[in-house]
Symmetry: none
Subunit: 202 residues, 4 copies
DNA sequence: TATGAATGAGAATTCATTCAT
DNA sequence: TATGAATGAATTCTCATTCAT
């Protein structure tokens, strides 16, 4: 039992360190981008040796993937929650926007897609594609529902709606507005919602 | 006169080859991203030797810049035309959307910005920053005008409008919808316009 | 204390390896010249991988500089010692010759100066220029002193003397005579001294 | 006959152009050194196309060799003249010094030897070695003669004398003193002679 | 013959990954 | 297990040489 407890402790420490590495990597990656972030830099920022990174992650791409994957699942999860949300289709989408708006890393990944291409190759790519298509299906589903309920304009193809909806999460727009202190996060969300649902016309 | 014609011919050929290289590079870059595109690969795709690339462009960064710069100027130019367009603010923006919607490379560059950081360093960066800030100013100007004319919602900060407006040109959305043959280009534009100005609500 | 000892050991090993690389590089450089010596070749001769060179030296030019700099400082140091040497001006110069005659690399560098131009650019060049001008000044000083003491011929410009004096250290002459086993090092020095101070006439 | 005359004219023009190229190359090489002088640069300086260089010389090394070879032969020739010169051994050497002192390119080549190594490889190297050994033999011969005539110090090995004698022609010393306007060419020669034959002692 | 565009081998440098301690 | 030195494949860029016009 003593041994087991120790292992558990060790295991916990391992997990913690892994989370710490991922958090560090996220910060560096978002600041510098995938290619300008070296393993050396991640290690240095995490205060560990480069070799240690490889004890936790098989490769740079695996590390980045380990960073991306849970964000995608989390987003997918929110989509599922939104679908199950008790309210109108609009309220579902609003719920989704409110919950995910500051999850900039998700959109960061989407935008960096070409740069990170190698991360999404092979087996990993297949997984990601599945999650992404589930996300988009979920969003499409909510929009379809809204159309059926006659609250969304059925003249616009649902897929286009879904794609432009995803676009709302663009971290560039968010950071330009919020991080530069021009509007508060809450206001930003309010305006985005307004623009998406009613457009900019008076 | 004969000589002159020859020179002109040579020069023309040179320009054509240069355009061909740029076109090739654009295709490869958009598919693979800046860092995953090697000069070797561009050369191979263009069917020329690596050294030849360097006869036309001093460095990889210069090549990419040669690709980016005219697209940015062209976009800026369209913004100027839009400002001068005879019509309402909305009509101006519609004109802009119609003219630039398929210029995917512009947005590709915006998204790849961190990856391409070296391209926009030094003198080149200064130029680009000027053009970009002129573009955004122009777009802001048109939106302000629309607010003054009471056709746009003055409750939303103009900068946010401008940023979300720019986002419309995201190549991912465009290619997902148009390139995958789901809607025609014209329809795509029509729907985008509708969504931007009136939102998705019925 | 154990830890400290380890660190010291590591550091010492590092220094040793660095010295070994420099020694290897010196041999290759003197045989092949700056441009015909590739980093690959230095690495191969040192029995290490190319990348390892870059762990010790930021660039080829830094490596070569690391080779040149101490030799120059050592030469300058000997000049200072010579100036302070207790004896006549001639004895000072003799001291200098005896101490530095086999330091072939110094003259090698002087001869290879145009080839190595890039090594002596910028900050590095400034340092080197200072050392070189201190060396030549020192030698001029000793010669002036000899003239004042009426033991050197004041009809000959001191600068010319100094330049021809430096020329004595030409590695080609040294290796032709000593390395080919024609005369011993001591004899070589004796003859050089005789020729420099008394000429070849009987 | 008309045809022949034309050919001769052409041939003469060819020779002239070849000489012009060589002259141009010499200037550029002496200023920049072997490796920092590109074929492009030689062509540009000569006002012809790069391809044309290759109509005259099979390769860069051949071009440089064509530059070096006649200088060596000319030097050898002067050595022969010196040997046949009507006068004492000293007068023979003085004749040699006076005639060749400004032929800096010869010494430039000697100094640049490692840099130009490839020029003196293979068949070309063999030729050069022959000429060089003839030169050194001739100089040794004159010194031996001087020793036999008891005007040179027979305590010093003749080979060393010969090597140090060659060293007199070092272009660096020459240019430092003459080109910088510190002493006239004639004075420079006078001082060199004095130092070589009588040393610097009073 | 003269041209200069095209070629591609070769060199410096970087950095993800491995491995001895 | 943790370290960080060592590795070498991959990449950018240069320049002597070739070749189509």
């Amino acid at each position: 039992m003593e041994k087991r407890a120790k292992l558990t402790l060790k295991e916990r420490q391992r997990q913690e360190r892994e989370q710490f590495i991922l958090q560090t990597a996220e910060n560096v990656l978002m600041k510098k981008g995938y290619h300008h972030t070296s393993m050396d830099e991640i290690a240095a920022n995490a205060g560990i040796a480069k070799g240690t990174l490889y004890l936790h992650f098989k490769s740079k791409d695996e590390l980045v993937f380990a960073l991306v994957e849970p964000k995608l699942y989390s987003f997918l999860n929110t989509v599922e929650e939104a679908k199950a949300y008790h309210g109108s289709s609009k309220e579902k989408l609003v719920f989704l926007i409110k919950k995910e708006m500051s999850g900039a890393f998700f959109q960061f990944v989407m935008k960096s897609y070409p740069d990170m291409a190698s991360v999404f190759q092979g087996e990993r790519g297949v997984q990601i594609q599945k999650v992404l298509s589930n996300i988009i299906s979920g969003i499409i589903e909510i929009h379809e529902e809204g159309k059926a309920a006659k609250i969304f304009d059925s003249a616009i193809p649902t897929e286009m709606m879904a794609n432009l909806f995803m676009n709302i999460f663009d971290p560039h727009v968010y950071s330009e507005s919020v991080k530069n202190g021009k509007v508060s996060k809450d206001d930003f969300i309010r305006y985005v919602i307004k623009m998406y649902f009613q457009g900019i016309e008076k």
